[in-house]
């Protein structure tokens, strides 16, 4: 019963974080792909807003993650899952570059995609469905590569 209750509390915090994250994106104007593209268009009429959104988020994030790094469990007593990988490899750079191309062509990245989905926009449904297909194909390729390298 105790465990069950703490699971529900953790789920509520997860839901709360997602909701606040989404509201932040809307306030910042980042749920609007046209505004994201206006930031990426350095040579046109440039809208620097996205840089300030990142600064605001990182300003708060720096404090939170400095605190998080010192802890072995969360405030709810859950295990801290912080990435430990340090190597800078080809995957990281190529993945970043190709993601940037997709982002630059659409103005949409994964978090705003779900906020847009919540507005019911048909275009957002198309983007999200194909994004999930892309992720599924990534998993398929990964598990195939693992199988091959196991021999």
């Amino acid at each position: 019963m105790q465990k069950h209750f703490s699971n529900i509390i953790a789920l509520l915090f997860s839901l709360l974080s997602g909701t606040i994250f989404g509201l932040g994106l809307i306030i910042a104007g980042m749920a609007n792909p046209a505004k994201v593209l206006a930031f990426l268009d350095l040579a046109g009429l440039w809208d620097p807003s996205l840089a300030l959104v990142m600064s605001g988020a990182i300003g708060v994030g720096l404090v939170a993650f400095a605190l998080a790094k010192k802890r072995s469990t969360s405030f709810l007593g859950l295990k801290m899952h912080l990435p430990s990988l340090r190597i800078i490899d080809k995957r990281l750079v190529i993945g970043g570059l190709t993601f940037g191309i997709g982002w630059g062509l659409s103005g949409i990245c994964p978090a705003p995609a779900f906020v847009l989905l919540g507005t019911g926009a048909t275009k957002a449904i198309i983007f999200v469905v194909f994004m999930l297909i892309g992720m599924e194909i990534f998993e398929k390729i990964e598990s195939y590569r693992k199988k091959v390298s196991a021999y």
Partner: protein, 152 residues
Amino acid sequence: MLIDWNNFSPWTGLAGGAIIGVASAIFVLFNGRIAGICGILGGLFRPQKNDIYWRLAFIVGLMIAPLIWQLFLPLPIIYIEASNGLLAITGFVVGISTRYGSGCTSGHGVCGISRLSPRSFIATLAFMFAGFVTVFIVRHVFDYELGFKLDL
């Protein structure tokens, strides 16, 4: 460089950003997790016991944000310029490459830089650079220099 003063929104940008920071702070301090949307989604494709619902809860949170917003205020203008076909292609590219590069704007850009992770600095530089170049090519090379608009 010409700044679009009519649309530049420094205060709501900073405030919205800080709210995104607060959401990431709650998530890491209470749930012990990184608020990286691709990582959260990625775990759903190889589901493990007790590792599904917190992921779905966060995603549902993102989706209900505009609904909660609309209880109080009309939504701001949202304009998606890309055609349906282009959205399908870019959605696919974003899905596969954010998993391959282990993160997107939220995971690397916000949380990773906040963690002072060198990997995330590099990834953020990479996707920002590619985003700038892509928009430059689409809007300025084709449209003005080659004399035709790329009809995306």
